[in-house]
């Protein structure tokens, strides 16, 4: 089985969140379906497009779906939730609006019939990899407590995305359990981290992420698992600044769920990109030894 | 033979036993209270096993007096007295000592609660020792009912009672029945035409063989009591003979006084001096408005009998009835008397008067109108044939502003309550407006949108979502005229902004007020009313249609603001109470009534005839009786209690200076015995 791979800009090699892409691809070499990059994909436009130009946002997203269709993919994996959310919303928007569909087809110079299913990373694991994980499990961590942090884009808007429970999602916790770590119960699973404001309104991001980090620490988590490059950047790259701003110490590793799976499969920390984090991930890596 | 008294102390689950040591109360009663021969406690005295225990012990122990220490007598006095009846014991030897509401619920300290309960039980034991057997009073029932008010509530009550097989006297003070509902255009939340659903009921009243209808008539006096009311009805001079008149319209067509403001159209349309208030009126026969008729004006001015005036006799000349004309200028008010067994009061409401809100210019600016006026504008039978035209120049308003809570929820204007219907009728008004003026803009200023009826919330939301009415949250401070526009100064507290609208018409959702003469009328019927002059029900939850006087029931807006379905439901409830009351030939009443003493000659009575009792009696139950010698000469005039009217409140007995009045079951001896039983430490 082959699934179209749409990495999106943030997680490709040479980008700020490349370790997410690296670990997703590394894990896919061992478990789950074969991932095949969609040739010549383009940026989905992310917040900047949907916040300022709905038609542009839709066209940029739909071009990728149409490409996938052209290359015969039935399903696409978009590990970045910004991408998966934009793709799914755009798909629905053109399905609901004949006029918009015509305009988009005209713009992207391709038909868009939208029969392709878009998967986020948790969905891919849940749908195709749970048995493989059980079969290939090499290392289980000793008493590693993980706060699963889903953020906004995986679950909202629920009517369109139709993935997991928007108020108390469980899919990532189940993966955490499957690799032998312990999910913690906490209240900030789907709180917003400030997303795209990391450069433009860093102050907002610092406040929101401080609340999230505090919540995870209070719940007793040793690390926070994420499946979103923006969440990761705000919690990991900005963690020093949060600590400085609020005059406290968190020092809590922020790891991608794909990295955790990789560690459980004994794939080697460096091959998963765990050396590229801002907050040291050693404690997590060591828990698996 | 001295009484053998049994004391039964109830735990009421833990309601009583948590703060009262019930075992100790029982023990103490037996130990210290004279006459007590048996005591026990029970978890729930009111339960079947509890009642059985009471019955069994009356027989086994030969008890002749019972004290149940439990909840308020309002709750279960009847339960325990009925239990006693089954054993053959006269129920008035059963007394309740309230150790729950007046003791366990208000005390936290168990020692205090227990001591007080012991006292309370001892007091009641002392009273019970002096209880006498009493017999219920039997009252004859006149199987007819009076319904006062011919609006939707009165009509519904009259029809329900009449359908139940009883004769109904329906009295309406206007020239036609129909009330306010007949004035409405469409009704919420279904938007069906008010007259279309109202007129069939009006016709049914007219055709019903059990209903005797008095229109243009008022209640002059109400005497008597439950089952036997004596009613005096003033038939106001209509100047038209209802039997002769065919309602042919010849008279009002020729009437020269054509510019009299129509009450039915809320002053927005005109009528003649001899008129039928609206086309579907019941009866569809005219009345002469003597204030405005040229002939009557002339007669008053010249101080001559109306028949002698020659100023204008066009209506009588046009009347085609022969040989005797249906119009009769010399008709005078007539008092008729009717006997009924029960009364339903359904006298309705009035709309808040213009002018109370100077800041809105009501009554000053022609284009500031009230809710009922808007109903008339929107009504197909109204002065504009249902077109929304402003009164000043007939222009169709393109911007219309509705102001809610005008007079409601406004303590500064003496009206703290919510009129309950305005949120819904304003939503309806915006819809009617948008249906008629498609390009128009409707704005509503509101404080809250209160739509707590079936399908009501959806209706109001429809006005906003589908009909496009713009709701602004805030009261309006002022409305003033600027050219041909009305400037409305309001606020939208949701955005924190001042809102200024140049409107072309303003509609005030005016409060529902009690009728102007509600207080006077209530006194006529000896029923109570609240601070807003709406008639009071005895219990807001469990007796919502019963007035404070037995046999008088309440229906519709005279009891408080309500909408049509609620008024109809209440009318049905009142009718069912009346039907239950009229279903038997005789009524049994509690014998707890006052009695003025009577003695052998030459004293006859210790009553000194001061009649203070008469002044304090809230039920008009005290009458004056002449004690006459054989030759018919009056020896003395003394008080007498009408047992049918007396509610046993005891005010007369407490007021009586010569101790001539005794309240059965609560005589002075008993009250003193209770007081003396308290151990004062």
């Amino acid at each position: 089985m082959r699934i179209g791979y749409y990495p999106g800009c943030a997680i490709t090699t040479g980008s700020s969140s490349e370790e997410y892409g690296t670990s997703v691809l590394r894990v896919s070499q061992v478990i789950g379906p074969e991932l095949e990059e969609i040739h010549d994909w383009n940026c989905c436009g992310a917040s900047s497009a949907h916040a300022t130009n709905h038609k542009l946002s839709t066209a940029l997203s739909i071009r990728n779906i149409s490409l996938a269709e052209k290359y015969g993919f039935k399903e696409i994996l978009a590990p970045c939730p910004m991408c998966s959310q934009r793709l799914i919303i755009s798909q629905k928007d053109v399905a609901d609006d004949e006029k918009l569909k015509k305009e988009v087809e005209d713009a992207i110079e391709m038909p868009c019939n939208s029969g392709v299913k878009i998967l986020n990373y948790l969905e891919l694991i849940k749908n195709y990899c749970m048995d493989d994980i059980a079969k290939n499990l090499k290392k289980t961590p000793k008493d590693l407590k993980i706060a699963s942090y889903y953020g906004c884009l995986l679950v909202r808007p629920p009517k369109v995305l139709q993935f997991d429970d928007p108020e108390d999602p469980k899919s990532m916790d189940e993966i955490v359990k499957a690799i032998g770590a312990k999910p913690v119960e906490w209240e900030f699973k789907t709180n917003c981290c400030g997303g795209g404001f990391t450069l433009s309104r860093t102050d907002v991001v610092l406040k929101l992420t401080n609340d999230i980090l505090e919540g995870a620490v209070e719940a007793g988590a040793d690390a926070i698992a994420v499946a979103c490059p923006m969440c990761h950047a705000n919690l990991d790259m900005r963690q020093k600044k949060i600590e400085k701003e609020y005059n406290r110490k968190f020092n809590i590793p922020i790891v991608y769920i794909s990295e955790l799976i990789g560690l459980a499969l004994d794939l080697g920390a460096i091959s998963l990109g765990l050396n590229k984090h801002f907050v040291e991930t050693e404690s997590v890596v060591n828990a698996f030894s | 033979m001295s009484k053998k008294i049994g004391v039964f102390v109830c735990h009421c689950g833990t309601n009583i036993s948590a703060t009262v040591d019930v075992e100790k109360v029982a023990e103490e009663a037996k130990k210290k209270n004279p006459g007590v021969t048996y005591t026990t406690t029970h978890k729930y005295m009111c339960s079947d096993p509890g009642q059985k225990l009471l019955r069994d012990k009356i027989k086994e122990e030969g008890l002749t007096g019972i004290v149940v220490a439990a909840c308020s007598p309002k709750m279960h006095e009847r339960t325990f007295r009925n239990a006693a009846i089954k054993t053959g014991l006269n129920p008035y030897h059963v007394e309740i000592s309230n150790i729950r509401e007046q003791c366990s619920w208000v005390h936290k300290d168990k020692a205090v609660g227990t001591t007080k309960s012991i006292d309370l039980v001892r007091m009641m034991t002392e009273k019970t020792r002096k209880d006498k057997s009493l017999k219920p009073i039997k009252v004859h029932v006149t199987k007819r009912a009076l319904v006062i008010g011919g609006g939707i509530a009165g009509i519904q009550a009259a029809l329900d009672i009449a359908d139940g097989g009883n004769e109904v006297i329906l009295v309406e003070r206007e020239a036609s029945i129909g009330g306010h509902m007949a004035q409405l255009s469409e009704t919420f939340p279904t938007l069906d035409c008010s007259q279309c659903i109202m007129t069939p009921k009006m016709v049914e009243v007219a055709q019903h063989e059990n209903i005797k209808l008095y229109t243009w008539s008022e209640i002059e006096a109400v005497g008597g009591y439950l089952g036997n009311f004596d009613i005096k009805i003033r038939k106001k001079a209509r100047s038209v003979d209802l039997d002769l008149c065919t309602g042919c319209s010849s008279c009002w067509q020729v009437c020269p006084s054509k510019k009299i403001k129509s009450e039915f159209d809320m002053g927005l349309g005109n009528r003649t001096a001899i008129y039928v208030p609206f086309p579907q009126a019941i009866p569809s026969k005219p009345v002469i408005d003597r204030e405005n008729c040229l002939l009557f004006k002339d007669a008053r001015k010249k101080n001559i009998p109306p028949n002698d005036s020659k100023v204008c006799r066009k209506c009588i000349d046009a009347c085609p009835i022969a040989p005797v004309k249906a119009i009769d200028y010399s008709q005078e008010d007539e008092i008729v008397e009717e006997k009924v067994g029960a009364i339903v009061v359904a006298t309705g409401y009035r709309e808040l008067e213009d002018g109370l809100y100077g800041e809105y210019g009501g009554g000053k600016y022609k284009d500031v109108i009230t809710g009922l006026q808007f109903e008339r504008l929107a009504s197909a039978s109204g002065p504009t044939d249902g077109m929304i035209k402003r009164p000043s120049d007939g222009k169709e308003p393109e911007i219309i502003v509705f102001i809610q809570c005008v007079g409601s929820r406004d303590p500064s204007k003496g009206c703290s309550y919510c009129s309950k219907t305005c949120c819904m009728y304003t939503a309806k008004h915006t819809m009617l407006y948008k249906h008629k003026v498609h390009h128009g803009h409707a704005y509503v200023f509101y404080i809250d949108i209160r739509c707590a009826g079936k399908s009501y919330e959806e209706f109001a939301q429809r006005a906003i979502e589908e009909e496009g009415a713009t709701y602004l949250r805030g009261r309006v401070s002022r409305v003033y005229q600027k050219g041909d526009k009305l400037v409305v100064l309001g606020a939208d507290t949701l955005t924190g902004s001042v809102v200024e609208i140049e409107a072309e018409m303003v509609v005030l959702a005016s409060a529902m007020k009690a009728q102007d003469d509600a207080g006077e009328f209530a006194r006529k019927l000896s029923i109570q009313y609240d601070k807003d002059m709406f008639f009071s029900e005895i219990h807001p939850k469990l007796k919502p249609v019963e007035s404070s006087s037995a046999g008088i029931f309440l229906a519709g807006t005279c009891q408080g603001p309500k909408d049509i379905p609620e008024a109809v439901a209440q009318a049905g409830a009142a009718a069912s109470k009346v039907l239950a009351l009229l279903s038997s030939d005789e009524l049994e009443r509690e014998p707890v009534v006052a009695r003025v003493d009577r003695q052998l000659p030459p004293v006859f009575s210790t009553c000194i005839g001061c009649f203070y009792c008469q002044k304090v009696c809230p039920y008009s139950a005290i009458e004056q009786e002449d004690i006459k010698a054989r030759d018919g000469s009056v020896i003395k005039t003394v008080a007498r209690v009408n047992e049918g009217l007396c509610q046993g409140c005891g005010l007369c007995a407490a007021t009586c200076r010569s101790k001539s009045i005794e309240l059965a079951g609560f005589n002075d001896e008993q009250i003193y015995a209770e007081i003396n039983a308290v151990e004062f430490n």
Partner: protein
């Protein structure tokens, strides 16, 4: 603030415009405030999210389009998710931002945000994908005051190989350019 309504300045047109453009039923909002209650950025906003809807409802176009709120909305969609009347509030913010830009009413106090969006889209327009370094460069040139805070992390990003110096152009970048032209 004062809102004037007369025959010349009718309020319902703006609501209608927004509803027609977006399909979002703005009138269905009954102002319960749940969106505001759950908004993570509300504390920074000049008007609460429900007030923005209110502006649209009552035709206060300028107030809505010049607000900082529409730019501060992080598109987390918590509001839409929990709205009892299913009003798409987050999506409404998108429409208002779009209209605000079209009418040149974007609040200058949130220029960081608008500039970021512009730099971001320029990068896509040029290369078809985001080249973070080039995008950052453009943004920081335009908003130099924000540069300082990121001076700390930029070298680390570079040293971790996370900021590529060479922008990657996609093959279909001409199509992308045409998409921009057709949609702008």
């Amino acid at each position: 603030m004062k809102i004037k309504i007369s025959l010349n300045e009718s309020s319902s047109d703006f609501a209608k415009e927004v509803e027609e453009r977006s399909g979002i039923k703005v009138r269905e909002c009954y102002q319960c405030g749940k969106c505001t209650a759950g908004c993570p950025v509300a504390y920074e906003m000049d008007y609460m999210p429900n007030q923005i809807i209110r502006f649209v409802q009552i035709g206060a176009k300028r107030e809505a389009l010049t607000s900082r709120t529409i730019w501060l909305c992080a598109s987390c969609i918590t509001c839409t998710t929990r709205c009892p009347k299913e009003v798409k509030i987050a999506e409404l913010m998108d429409v208002l931002r779009e209209m605000s830009l079209e009418e040149g009413l974007a609040n200058p106090l949130e220029k960081n945000i608008t500039t970021f969006h512009k730099s971001f889209l320029n990068s896509i327009k040029k290369h078809g994908r985001i080249s973070e370094l080039w995008m950052l460069n453009e943004y920081k040139m335009k908003r130099p005051k924000t540069a300082l805070q990121d001076l700390v992390v930029a070298p680390q990003l570079i040293s971790k190989g996370k900021l590529s110096f060479l922008p990657h152009d996609i093959k279909g970048k001409d199509v992308i350019k045409r998409i921009f032209e057709k949609c702008e």
